[in-house]
């Protein structure tokens, strides 16, 4: 069995004259949580829907669990769970009925009640889906994606519209999926979500990947360290690639003057700063 759950190379997708995806390549290893991060309209959903088999690509090569997703295959679909960005329910069935109904489609389905509990909907199990809140509907989406006990789970903006508590619950579920050895491909426009969940992140902008790597290393060699302190009540800020040298010089001079560098801090760029920096760069290309 290949180590790679997903292989994408030089993927292109055009709608008429609009190029939504322009040469995207990335791999997702088995057991990895991989995040596609980018602003709305960057091409994340188009990319994921090609991997899910909903759209045909214009060019490039795509393998999902060793299959070409353009060739619909029942065995393949049994190994994949999908949370789409927007996708409805039968309004007049209960949560439990919906989960039990979809469970029948899979050879090794999870226990419906346990799956409802996993996403934190047990109190709503007998509620009809039309009476659920936005966040609860999203959790039902997640339950339906997990009911077949998939190897690979696609989560397209799974926490959009969640309140903070529901987001924490959803994050907990994704972490449990990872603990269970599942592969997860996550799209999000929440930076903190990518940072909290993804082993590796690809930042997508205008149909291209502009950076890729573990979230805490993404800024390396691109954005600089920031050294800041207060001098005479005013904040002074320096940017540097070599904080050791800069700190040495600053503290030496301060000691010589008999001054304290109040509030001295050295910070690495957050993912947010890297993200804003990269997406701004892509704009000016």
């Amino acid at each position: 069995m290949s180590e790679l759950a997903i292989e994408v190379s030089n993927l292109h997708k055009s709608y008429g004259s609009l190029e939504a995806v322009r040469g995207v390549s990335f791999d997702v290893r088995r057991g990895e949580v991989f995040g596609l991060l980018g602003p709305n309209g960057a091409g994340k959903t188009t990319t994921v829907e090609i991997l899910e088999g909903y759209r045909r690509r214009s060019a490039g090569e795509v393998w999902v669990l060793g299959h070409d997703p353009e060739v619909r295959d029942r065995g393949q679909q049994q190994r994949v769970g999908i949370v789409l960005q927007s996708c409805g329910f039968y309004p007049r069935v209960t949560v439990r009925e919906a989960v039990e109904h979809f469970a029948k489609a899979y050879p090794r389905a999870r226990d419906p009640a346990g799956t409802i509990a996993l996403v934190g909907l047990e109190e709503k199990a007998e509620a009809r889906t039309k009476d659920l809140s936005g966040g609860q509907r999203r959790r039902l989406d997640l339950a339906l994606a997990l009911i077949g006990d998939p190897e690979l789970v696609f989560l397209d903006e799974p926490t959009t519209g969640f309140d903070p508590a529901a987001r924490r619950t959803a994050w907990g579920v994704v972490r449990r999926l990872k603990d269970l050895g599942k592969t997860v491909l996550l799209t999000t426009h929440y930076l903190d979500e990518a940072q909290a969940l993804a082993d590796r992140v690809a930042i997508v902008k205008d149909g291209r990947i502009v950076a890729e790597g573990p979230p805490d290393q993404l800024g390396h060699g691109r954005s600089r360290y920031r050294v800041a302190y207060f001098s005479n009540g005013r904040r002074v800020e320096h940017q540097t690639d070599d904080p050791t040298e800069l700190l040495h010089r600053l503290t030496r001079d301060a000691l010589a003057r008999g001054e304290r560098l109040d509030g001295l801090e050295v910070t690495r760029p957050t993912l947010e700063e890297v993200y804003l920096h990269l997406t701004a760069d892509a704009d000016s290309v």
């Binding site: 909903y54 999908i82 789409l84 996708c87 029948k104």
Partner: protein, 242 residues
Amino acid sequence: MSPLALAWQQFRFERRLFWRNPSAAFFNFALPLLFLVLIASAFGSDDDELDILLPGIAGMSVLATTFTALAFGLTVLREDGILKRIRGTPIPTWSYLTGLLASAVLNAFLQVVLIVLIGHLVYGVAWPVDPPLLLAFTVLGVACFASLGVAFSHAIPNEDAAPAYTNAVFLPLIFISGVFYSEDDLPAVLRAIADALPLKHLIDGLSQAIVGGGGDAGTAAAVVGAWALAGILLAVRFFRWE
């Protein structure tokens, strides 16, 4: 679970959904029966009128339970993203559609049986003169209007437009196709339109089967069959999951 078993599960699920939807139950079952009872009560002493009305209401019921219900229902399923969700699961396409269509087909058969029963038990109309022909025309009518309903859903842009689109076909069609009165009473233009469309011919066939009168069964079968073929081609060719 085998694809056939999944189709059965889908069918059972659709049945459960159907009875939870009061407006579907009303338009599929209550409305045609209401027409039958009201009109038959008004003209009940006239056997000729009942001979027109009974097959007419049966044909209208086939139209309502298959064409209208599927055109409307599939539009809602598509626009709500339920078709897209189904597409993302391992439920085979034909299992899903078989379950969905079978539920509509069952409604059509139940309704035809109910109408024949009410006609006999309440209004004293004789039992159908040709039961095999009744079965044949019900099957043909269901195939025709179910496939046309699926095809028509492709033309309906969204949920809000669905009632207008379906009624724009349903209401004029029942009035020109001889559901309530003999088609011969219509102006020539309307009669020509009705003759080109399948409902009038389905009613002719049902009429031959139930009361042994009406238009030629062979012509009726040919026209309904031709529309069925066209409906199947269009339904498959333009099917959209989202």
